[in-house]
Symmetry: C2
Subunit: 234 residues, 2 copies
Amino acid sequence: MTSLRRRTRSPRGSGELLADEIIDSATALLLEKEDAEAVSVRAVASRVGVTPPSIYLHFADKEALLDAVCARYFEQLDVKITEAAAGITDPLRRALSQGMAYVRFAVATPVLYRNAFHRITPDSSTMVEEVLAASAFVQFSATVAELAEAGLFAESEVGDVVLEFWAAAHGIASLMIAKPRLGWGDDFQRAESMLRSVCLGRAVIGVVSSGQTSKDKARAVQGLITELGTPDRN
Amino acid sequence: MTSLRRRTRSPRGSGELLADEIIDSATALLLEKEDAEAVSVRAVASRVGVTPPSIYLHFADKEALLDAVCARYFEQLDVKITEAAAGITDPLRRALSQGMAYVRFAVATPVLYRNAFHRITPDSSTMVEEVLAASAFVQFSATVAELAEAGLFAESEVGDVVLEFWAAAHGIASLMIAKPRLGWGDDFQRAESMLRSVCLGRAVIGVVSSGQTSKDKARAVQGLITELGTPDRN
DNA sequence: TGTACATCAGTGAACGCGCGTTCACTGATGTAC
DNA sequence: TGTACATCAGTGAACGCGCGTTCACTGATGTAC
């Protein structure tokens, strides 16, 4: 089986060509398989059309390969989050759009998502920094910071709110992935209405605990409800 | 190693005694290890003080054993959810309390939680029924149904709301488990404020889209905010 | 009360498997003269 | 232009390992007489 698809040898300088192909194949396997355990060094090598030892010319070990897969995955997530934000000036709408992009991306790549989600930050604190520095995370934090500037909650709460939205989006995606038969409907309307209510709840709490006059608070809450309460406006 | 803790042979009729011990040991291993893959039939047998083939006297295969572990885990979750509901008459508070019990339980048993969460309902539709019939799920659904009766949203939305709360609680727990270093604080106050805002958001949306007069709506929203908006009331 | 026997919970040894990884090698590619 | 050589991407064979599972067995327990 290994020798069926034997690839042509790479030219001298370009070890990275094969490295990329290896990451691609590992990614493809994680996309196809239902179980991450099914992705072995041998399976990856065979898919690339190369023998297992070749993998070790490009990656120190299996973990390093999976780290590389994970890094590439985050780059793609970043692209999706960027696209989702493009051209949306209202930060509330943008936050919603970015959240939905996250959910869609995760649901489209279940095994990859789980791999990436559990790979980053098990223990080492450099990993935490890696997450916090991840571009998708930074982008979304910026959106939330804009919401704070708009008065939806205190600047000091930005970190909390980011975490809350992340938990919500992750929870929805994770549940959709793990229990696909729970009747999620054809499109992501259920997911979107969930994200909407999280946004609304947090924003209402933020407004209420702000220093505005109660008349201003009432008006702000009313505005939020108009913006987020009815699912069909968009 | 196997022979060090050799257990005394069970009396004639009671094969279930050892079966229980096996489930206990497998559970204990899943509690201690950071990785579910580390739990092997051999490890379980050795912990019970028995040889690997003995396991097959009580369980058809490894999957059956893990299913049994999972079933026992759900029983324990059910107990926690029951305890969390005890004596709380206000359904909103009760929903919150049950949600927090879920999060605490999951966070206290990370590997077991992940195992159980991913084991149930991968594909078979009987599994879906199993989840829906699970007592913890039924209990929480009853609480949400009471919220609907109280007018927080339409009866027809009960299923949606249950799913939304579940996604929220799961998302929080899952994030706390996977990224313990993200600064969750000592107690679960962050988790609780997240659940509160989800409750509030959903309830506000429910009230607003209800058939009440706008004056009644305003009063209802105000009541919800009083109930859920300030984290220190309890 | 004592003995022969059936039962069956648990054993010991082994099976085949796929895994991650290693190591000495091969042979096409590019370079020096 | 042609030949000898160094480089190094990729190979083939093998390693040790732990896994889930099987099978013929053993020997204490309980029963029949």
